[in-house]
Subunit: 131 residues, 2 copies
Amino acid sequence: MSGLSIGQVAERTGLSVHTLRFYEREGLLAQPVRRGTAGHRVYNEGDVDWLGVCIRLRASGMPLTDIRRYTELVRAGQGNEAERLEVLRGHQERVLAQMHELNECLKLITHKVAIYEGRLGLRDNVPDCAP
Amino acid sequence: MSGLSIGQVAERTGLSVHTLRFYEREGLLAQPVRRGTAGHRVYNEGDVDWLGVCIRLRASGMPLTDIRRYTELVRAGQGNEAERLEVLRGHQERVLAQMHELNECLKLITHKVAIYEGRLGLRDNVPDCAP
DNA sequence: GTAGAAGCTAGAGCCGACTCTAGGTCAAAC
DNA sequence: GTTTGACCTAGAGTCGGCTCTAGCTTCTAC
């Protein structure tokens, strides 16, 4: 079963059809997309799932080259688990670092927000001390 | 006291001298940088502090245009606290959303890492079920 | 049979955020 | 007195990640 057009996949994933074709050119798909009549792409559920993974990885700041590398390892099949692990662990560390950075930023913003709320009388007892 | 060359500020902030000049052109500095002999920039501690804020905001994904907008409000002086608050709250929400997204990604990665560790015999009792 | 929607390819264009180059000034060290 | 190093400006170049265009095919509905 299944057999989705690029338009349907765009709708499901939230990516544009342009981006879907672009991602394919960039080698982000685990398998080459099948083609139907007139050369139209035919996606299956597995493709959509894989795209979901790619979207998550992108959203967390993994560059396309790294996603491609990981995809290639998956495509190559069993035997390279150590390398896959290396890629994932590398990204995991960057994500953790990024979360830490975001936390610091959030502290700063929350601090400033409290100050402005104080100045605007939206809060009580907030000392006024910063720009 | 204070009076730092662009090179010293670069060293302190971790930004390149190119980027410091670029940020200035883009209007990210709360005050115009003073100039010393031969037109060389002379930064003070306040400039460095402000740059620190900008760096945090950038690191958390705030676009330069938004940082410029906020900088302009600060530069304009008191009376626009409501607008500053709006900018900060908007970014605060985006940061929170991003942290949520990173968390989801981290779950995914951690799950996959566990699987590969299992396959590689680095862990016990991990079911093998995903690519 | 023709109009419209959806798809195709190859390649150009765009945007944000830097990053670098060319050509010049100036002060201090040798 | 010249070389070295840090700075200056204006403007060009780069890179990642899309996004769009042109020109074509193919299917479906009227």
